[in-house]
């Protein structure tokens, strides 16, 4: 510990602290622009100059390490003079843009100019002008306003993982730019808007639409990925104007992925459904709630009477709140049907009834892991901020290995990578298991011991065994895999052998919540796959676009089209549903309802509505509750979402922060003999081409699909048939050529694209996009022919 005195106040700080750290410890504010607690120190703005006793000149507080007995003055004459001088320099080239600048009112430069600068200008000469850059559809630039603090540069370099921005030229000509003509395509790019202390980088979707002082700030939780980032939703006149991160060191730190940040645009989309609608003689008519709900109640009662309750099924969304999922399953069970599911993209349900997949650890602990294996994950796009945590872990010396079917650049230095066809993933994982078992001297199933081990598998196994805090995560791709249960069993066995933590990277905001709410088929019920494979008479769909969100889109569409009654609860007029649905009930998106999400680490996060429901829209939990009343079902008399939550989580106050005690990854008692628990199919899959399907980041759920700015990004590009050079040649096609892709009954026309990161024989076609809704499934054999 070192002794230091700041403005006469003495304190002790740990060795290696800088003056600004010490000042923060003391609660003393030192003005700064370039310093950011999560970024490296640049010390180039010079705003944090302070006087240090015995130092001849003022020192930058952010870059000066504390020495024992140091005496610092932050408000002495010398310090104030230095700060004033720096401020004057910063303002010399700053344009007179405040009135038209979106940062006005929340601008650090303004605040510090008023707080620490002179009150009058002495500068009379010309100001410099810097050309604006096109950084894509999310970030607007006004580069003349830039003060070259390089926070954005350091962010792209250190947090986002790829240095997409840099400071080119020098001296007076220095400017921040991307490599000539390129846009910033990071899935975390929105954070540079928050980081920019001035108005040089601002939000394009928000541009010129409101001032900070007009906006009401309300807390909420992101409904997208499994992280459940806490949000500050800023609203004006009952309209969501923008979304900012709510800092939580244990979840999102101070970051937010672009998906969480910009998806709000969908909330104000013209596609919003504002009144209940009934299909009457093939025509959609707007009706009153009473009429619509009566219709639904009658239709469900009729089906239950005529065809039995099992003819009804509920397809819920993992992006729905805990309360909605609970009431949804309660309604179905009340009607006598056990057909409830929310895992629309899952294909392998053989693990049902054996647990609740979750991360297996705290998100915050990811950063301290030293050995990680991620199986089947488009990590960066599926879990942008978890990827960021792993990236930081790698920087601290962790080894991250990847087992996957596509070699996307995760912008972290992977220790070992094994990229194989989807059908070979189990085999590869088994090889790692074998290797680890051999190294550990543990005996495993004969089927595994018989395998030949590849170098990569060996490297992965060695890496996992060499650390002290290891973890194995199954990504979305592994969970959606046809042999998800096998992958799971192997990964879990591997975890057991290596002593690693085992967990799932939750696909959606409430993937864990769905299990907790028991929105799952019981022993007698059908799961999502079965419900669509064996068509029902009536469907209740909550917040999902089944033809895009399901593992088998073709089958799903056929099932829905033949159904007598399809009731859709959705905030949007979903184009597909207009065809197959019979009733559209406008329900609130997350911004207009109260509810809870349980994120992938089992953290319960409840939130309130931030704006009034649009038009006749009503929170889905209320709709389901009234529907329960109309159907005369017992237990539908909750007056608030809190009461619904209490039904699920218990009435204890405060509501438990975590529900980890209810979570257990399936097969937690997995023994040495895997074969007993799950039939491991280690044979290679179809000989021919195999589809690798990713759910593109900006088509993952109903909301992001309707966010216009996100849809303009590169990540939202229309799906293509991606193959490596060998596969292209094998199919006799070339990159850029238009192809007909056939899978099962269906087909799609796509362009061929060269993707060197795929294994031979793999055709990567993104799922969840209308253009590929004609293809049969997210996996399996596929054929390609030139048009």
């Amino acid at each position: 510990m070192l002794d230091i005195e700041i403005d006469g106040k003495a304190l002790q700080v740990v060795e290696g602290s800088t003056i600004i750290d010490a000042a923060h410890q003391l609660g003393t504010y030192i003005p700064h622009f370039c310093y950011h607690k999560k970024l490296s120190i640049a010390a180039n703005c010079r705003m944090c100059l302070v006087q240090v006793e015995k130092a001849p000149k003022p020192m930058p507080a952010c870059a000066t390490p504390v020495t024992n007995g140091m005496k610092v003055q932050t408000h002495s004459e010398q310090a104030v003079k230095a700060q004033k001088g720096v401020m004057e320099f910063l303002l010399i080239n700053h344009p007179l843009d405040c009135p038209i600048c979106d940062q006005g009112g929340e601008c650090l430069l303004q605040d510090l100019a008023v707080g620490y600068g002179a009150s009058a200008s002495r500068y009379q000469e010309e100001k410099r002008v810097v050309m604006n850059k096109n950084l894509g559809p999310l970030v607007a630039t006004d580069m003349t306003r830039c003060i070259n603090c390089t926070r954005c540069v350091r962010f792209t370099q250190e947090i986002a993982g790829l240095m997409e921005l840099g400071q080119a030229y020098r001296g007076e000509h220095a400017e921040i730019m991307s490599f000539i003509g390129q846009t910033v395509d990071s899935e975390l790019s929105g954070n540079i808007i928050d980081l920019c202390p001035v108005g040089a980088l601002t939000s394009k979707p928000f541009r010129f639409s409101a001032r900070t002082w007009e906006l009401a700030r309300r807390k909420s939780v992101s409904p997208h990925d499994g992280l459940g980032s806490p949000l500050i939703v800023q609203t004006k006149h009952d309209k969501v104007m923008r979304v900012l991160p709510l800092e939580n060191e244990e979840i999102n730190e101070c970051w937010l992925s672009d998906k969480d940040r910009f998806s709000y645009e969908a909330l104000n989309s013209p596609e919003r459904l504002t009144r209940p609608m009934l299909k009457h003689g093939g025509q959609w008519i707007e009706v009153e709630w009473q009429q619509a709900l009566d219709y639904v109640a009658h239709a469900f009662k009729d089906i239950a009477k005529n065809h039995g309750a099992a003819a009804l099924g509920a397809l819920l969304s993992p992006h729905a709140t805990l309360e909605e999922l609970h009431l949804g399953q309660k309604l179905m069970r009340g009607l006598g049907s056990g057909n409830v599911d929310f895992r629309l993209r899952q294909s392998d349900f053989s693990q049902d009834g054996q647990g609740t997949p979750w991360l297996g650890m705290k998100i915050a602990e990811i950063g301290s892991l030293d050995r990680v294996l991620v199986v089947g994950s488009f990590l960066r796009k599926d879990h942008p901020l978890i990827a960021q945590r792993l990236r930081q872990a790698v920087k601290r010396g962790a080894q991250v290995s990847l087992v996957h079917s596509a070699d996307d650049d995760q912008l972290l230095k992977a220790h070992a990578k094994a990229i194989v066809l989807p059908s070979q993933l189990p085999q590869l994982l088994a090889q790692v298991v074998k290797c680890a078992a051999e190294l550990k001297g543990v005996s495993v199933d004969a089927a595994i011991t018989a395998l030949a081990v590849s170098e990569k598998a060996k490297a992965i196994a060695e890496s996992l065994l060499s650390g002290t805090r290891a973890a194995i995560f199954l990504g979305n791709f592994a969970q959606q895999h046809e042999q998800a249960a096998t992958l799971q069993a192997l990964a879990q066995l591997l975890a057991k052998i290596t002593g690693a933590n085992f967990g799932f990277l939750g696909e959606a905001a409430n993937s864990v919540g769905g299990y907790v709410a028991n929105a799952l088929p019981g022993a007698d019920g059908l799961n999502a796959g079965q419900m669509l494979a064996e068509p029902r008479h009536g469907y209740l769909i909550l917040n999902a676009e089944v033809e895009l969100d399901s593992a088998r889109p073709l089958q799903a569409l056929a099932a829905l089209k033949q159904a007598a009654t399809v009731v859709l609860l959705s905030p949007f007029k979903l184009p597909g549903a207009l065809d197959y649905a019979d009733v559209l009930l406008p329900v609130s998106p997350f911004s207009e309802t109260s509810g809870s999400f349980i994120n992938t680490e089992g953290r319960v996060q409840s939130f309130n509505a931030v704006v009034r429901p649009l038009g006749e829209t009503r929170p889905a939990w209320k709709v389901l509750r009234v529907l329960g009343n109309l159907l005369n079902l017992p237990g539908f008399d909750q007056d608030s979402s809190e009461q619904v939550r209490a039904e699920v989580l218990g009435a204890a106050t405060p509501t438990p922060e975590f529900v980890t005690d209810r979570l257990a990854n399936p097969l937690s008692d997995v023994a040495n003999n895997v074969a007993n628990n799950v039939a491991i199919k280690l044979d290679a899959g179809p000989n021919g081409l195999e589809r690798v399907a990713d759910v593109a980041i900006y088509s993952a759920d109903v909301l992001v699909r309707r966010a216009p700015s996100l849809q303009k990004t590169r990540d939202a590009a229309s799906p293509a048939a991606r193959m490596n050079a060998v596969t292209l040649q094998q199919c006799g096609v070339s990159a850029g050529q238009e192809l007909r892709v056939r899978q099962g009954e269906g087909q799609a026309q796509l362009f061929a694209v060269l993707d060197a990161g795929l294994p031979d024989g793999a055709v990567r076609i993104a799922a969840a996009h209308p253009k590929v809704a004609g293809l049969a499934a997210m996996h399996g054999a596929i054929t390609v022919e030139a048009l």
Binding site: E88, L91, I92, H94, L96, C98, P99, G104, G105, L109, Q110, D111, A113, V114, G117, A118, S119, A120, S121, Y123, R211, W213
Partner: protein
């Protein structure tokens, strides 16, 4: 025998002599007032509470609307309190301008007070004369602030802008020929200061006229003398201030006793009454107008000779000039922040009281360092004076109640706030 009951009369709130919206419940024994019960609150606008929601600057125009018969002087203690919290020195010229307009406002107030009191007791003409002079005064205010009543002119750190170099003039029209217009414009040919000086030269003559009409008038005296007597002790006990206190013979005037701004540099006298009745208070008010006129003359003379800034040049407090704001970065930023976030006033509490036309008007401010007051409390003289209504009117005739309301010089914007 029939039981004789006191007669209860509801006086106001629509009564023209109720000075706005006073609802006075009078209990009468015949024509004699047994009890007077003033009901207030009909003009309550929660100014104090509103101030907690507004930036320091934004409350200035609301202060105008308290005592809406003496507008600019209301702003004075508010900006003074802020200045004391900020610890800033206001330019001397701004202090003179404020004193000048305080005194102009004082005349403005007393003209209304005396004019309407005369009207209340039956002298119709007085109000026509006093309003004629008030017209000149509101012209001065319009020329300076842009508004004939609610100026919003005083600012923390000074006043908004300097006195204008010219006065608006009459134009020839079908009712007034060139000669008439020329005569009318004579006083308006120069600057505002010329106009004020001309007025201050004319004003003592007007005062003489008023005195001719009222001071010795037997009806006036019959209605005022020995009405509403308040003894020295009672006046002090009841917390009277201003002419109400001085009318009772207490020589107390904040301008002398706790000089603020430049009053210690000015030469003027404090008139006091002897009997503490309505008539004495009338005389005190008359003399105060003459003394105010004296102060005005001194201020005009000083202001002529001493041009200079009228607001502090520290842009952390006061906005920069428009020209600089449009051309310089620092100034633009400060302008932007001043008009959006406003100034941050160091935490602390302060009371600033001034000698208002009606008595001591004070603003008590608590700041927690934010851009809005944590709490604002207004001390208005009229409220205190009105509370003595029962005591003063007890035993008098019902007609005297009107005189007493008039002598209190209450305005409901001020009482109810």
């Amino acid at each position: 025998m029939a039981e004789i009951q006191n007669y209860t009369l509801n006086f106001g709130p629509q009564h023209p002599a109720a000075h706005g919206v006073l609802r006075l419940v009078l209990e009468l024994d015949g024509e004699m007032v047994v009890r007077a019960d003033p009901h207030i609150g009909l003009l309550h606008r929660a100014t104090e509470k509103l101030a907690e929601q507004k930036t320091w600057l934004q409350s200035v125009p609301y202060l105008d609307r308290l005592d809406y018969t003496s507008m600019l002087i209301n702003e004075h203690p508010y900006v003074m309190a802020i200045e004391r919290l900020l610890g800033i020195e206001v330019p001397l010229r701004a202090q003179y301008i404020r004193v000048l307009f305080d005194e102009i406002t004082r005349i403005h107030n007393h003209l209304l007070s005396i004019g309407t009191q005369a009207l209340d007791v039956g002298a119709m003409t007085m109000v026509l004369y006093t309003f004629r002079e008030r017209e000149d005064i509101v012209d001065m205010m319009e020329a300076t602030t842009g508004a004939r009543m609610h100026g919003a002119y005083y600012r923390p750190g000074g006043v908004y802008r300097d006195l204008p170099g010219q006065m608006p003039r009459y134009e020839v029209n079908k009712f007034k020929n060139a000669k008439t217009v020329k005569a009318l414009n004579e006083a308006r040919s120069g600057s505002l200061l010329d106009f004020i000086e001309d007025f201050s030269n004319r004003f003592p003559g007007y005062c003489d006229d008023y005195e001719t009409l009222l001071t010795d008038n037997r009806i006036w005296k019959q209605r005022l003398v020995d009405i509403g007597i308040v003894s020295k002790e009672r006046a002090l006990q009841r917390g009277f201030t201003g002419p109400m206190l001085r009318g009772s013979g207490v020589e107390w005037d904040l301008r002398k006793k706790q000089p603020y701004e430049v009053y210690d540099r000015l030469d003027f006298d404090i008139p006091v009454g002897v009997n503490g009745d309505c008539y004495d208070r009338y005389l005190v008010r008359m003399e105060e107008m003459r003394q105010a006129n004296r102060i005005i003359k001194q201020c005009v003379a000083w202001l002529r000779d001493n041009p200079g800034p009228v607001i502090v040049d520290n842009h952390k407090v006061a906005p920069p000039s428009r020209e600089k704001m449009k051309g310089n970065m620092e100034e633009l930023i400060h302008h932007f922040k001043l008009f959006t976030e406003g100034i941050h006033v160091p935490s602390g509490e302060v009371y600033a009281g001034i000698e208002h036309a009606k008595g001591e008007f004070g603003v008590y401010l608590i700041s927690d360092g934010a851009n809005k007051p944590y709490r604002m409390k207004l001390r208005s003289a009229a409220f205190t004076h009105l509370s003595a209504m029962d005591e003063m009117s007890k035993g008098h005739m019902i007609a005297d109640a009107v005189t007493i309301i008039g002598t209190m010089d209450i305005v409901f914007g001020d009482v109810d706030r």
